[in-house]
Symmetry: D3
Subunit: 136 residues, 6 copies
């Protein structure tokens, strides 16, 4: 018997969409105003979903307080109030699209969870655009 528990979190960041292998004209043609060299930014809203058995003693899949702390340490402290392109190692050569940020978050959380759990990350870049990644 498996249950999924989900925890919301959030962070704010600046970014631009940019492929360093392309010149400015191509970046601008492909990414439009999202490639503004002086950056724009977002309120990223995050849902972390952990699926696994319910511990019969606690009634928890995982302790939500522990999960909240894990997200603070591994995601918020790494990304909150940052310039993703300039200040976050993972995006030194990786374009910080909502897809890639979701994958990076997943990879930062996965090693901290026992392998008996499945992990999914849902990341809202705006209330109208969001991405999901489950590691497969």
């Amino acid at each position: 018997m498996e249950v999924t528990v989900n925890r919301h979190a959030h962070f704010n960041a600046a970014h631009r969409l940019f492929n360093p292998a392309w010149d400015d004209a191509k970046n601008s043609a492909v990414f439009g105003k999202c490639s503004n060299p002086r950056y724009h930014g977002h309120n990223y809203e995050l849902i972390v979903s952990v699926t696994g058995p319910v511990d019969p003693e606690t009634g928890y899949v995982v302790d939500m307080g522990w999960l909240k702390e894990l997200i603070t340490e591994r995601v918020e402290e790494y990304l909150d109030h940052k310039n993703l392109n300039e200040e976050v190692d993972d995006f030194a050569s990786l374009n910080p699209t909502v897809e890639n940020i979701a994958v990076v978050i997943w990879k930062r959380l996965r090693p901290k969870l026992d392998l008996k759990y499945k992990l999914k990350v849902t990341l809202y870049e705006t209330p109208r655009n969001f991405a999901e990644y489950s590691g497969t």
Copy 2:
């Protein structure tokens, strides 16, 4: 490695629930006030979800600007501010329930997406009732 990207959209429409094979009494008995012959209506809120590999050059599953345009052309221009029963070909003989509208939207979008992508449509008829269709 597959990621899902999701895009919100919306349209407003009038409809009534109605099976033309039934008489008025049966329509009224089965569908209640939703079968009012003079129609009622909804703000339909739509989420279109596309699952596929992340393009290593763009960091995109698909360009969200392109997806937004596709939804405008294939869904909003077809359904927005319409009377679904009287003005939309797909519902000439198909009851415009939230289930059937979701399937119609999926069928209108599917041919426009490369087969390497999976497509899911989530359609809110009200904030309290919604349907999902993935083509299977």
Copy 3:
């Protein structure tokens, strides 16, 4: 000491924007697709706000169960699943814009509330458009 209590409610309806004093061309020019003669519709989300003293015995401004019933009787039964233009007396010669619907709702509730209370109506036509009326 005055407190405001607020209660949500909702109804679905079909309507078209239409001024019977104008010909079709002018209605279409002014109201665009909102004037579609075959109607479109909305999920109207309503907030009814009552301001007044807190009863020291109950701790209530007004009983929210009573307010809920009042909204059901005076608003939902009158407007829900209706064609506003064709089936609702107030709109026989009044254009059912969100402004006018808010005023009509206010006028239907006002006589049922003691004069010591202030009344405000907030009406969402869509999540993006809404109107407020306080009777002044």
Copy 4:
């Protein structure tokens, strides 16, 4: 061809997290303020999701009015405005975590649905914490 229909509902309840096999010190160490012996409470927001074929005559997976009634009878009347630990049989010896409440709701609904339908329950304990259970 399968579609999922989803219906929102809600109930309010008091609870505390508590394992009767543990002494007070251990309950407090594991569950913190959630184990307050005098209880705290939540607005539980529920989404019930039913997946199955669309009936060609009605255009429904299931009648949403029927589903609404079923949730009222099997969930809301059982849990609304209750103290989950003291007044609800299922939690006499089961810790009322959001995981366990979701499973209990699923088990109360499952026998009422034809086996051709899949059932999923999503339960929000707060807007920031929620659980999902699909019976597997």
Copy 5:
């Protein structure tokens, strides 16, 4: 020139509606299931609104970080995960309706704010019921 800044916060609590001057039958008749002697509970969502001049040096009405801390100290630590009737001094003889809780919160914050600021408290008992108090 005055601007209003608003900050969200939240707490969970158990309560029952109860007037100690009345017997059980009258409490039950007036408050219904909200008077359940074993309590129920809510996720209270709070908006604290401060109106005043914008400081020309900071561009702030008040520092939102300071306001967040103030709400934590004066509201959340006092009410979160509590039984309002049994554990909160203000409700020893005051019925914990949403109206009265909003007034109590306002009174706990008001002395901490300079008199040049106006203060308003908005308190959601559920997503469908809420109260507002401005001190007048």
Copy 6:
């Protein structure tokens, strides 16, 4: 008789909190991580509220399509996907706090509205922090 109509809009931008009259140490001490020299960003959600008489011919306070266009021209084209500190004239020497941005938006819209209308701007910097300005 006056009604208020409200229209949602949104834009994304990068910014930092910064007073050029202060040195870096003081900016950092006062504004914390919000003063990161490499910027962070937000999804700004905007509500523009116009209060005035209802035109008896149209049933409108103002045409919401016209208001939407006005917001696009005066607000979104000026602020969307911009670095507020570096690229927006109004913030060349004004700290782009949510308070100041709300005032700037109000000042850009006010001259475009007839004086018979009142104007209010509500600006969400995050779902948890927002400011309101009415011009007084």
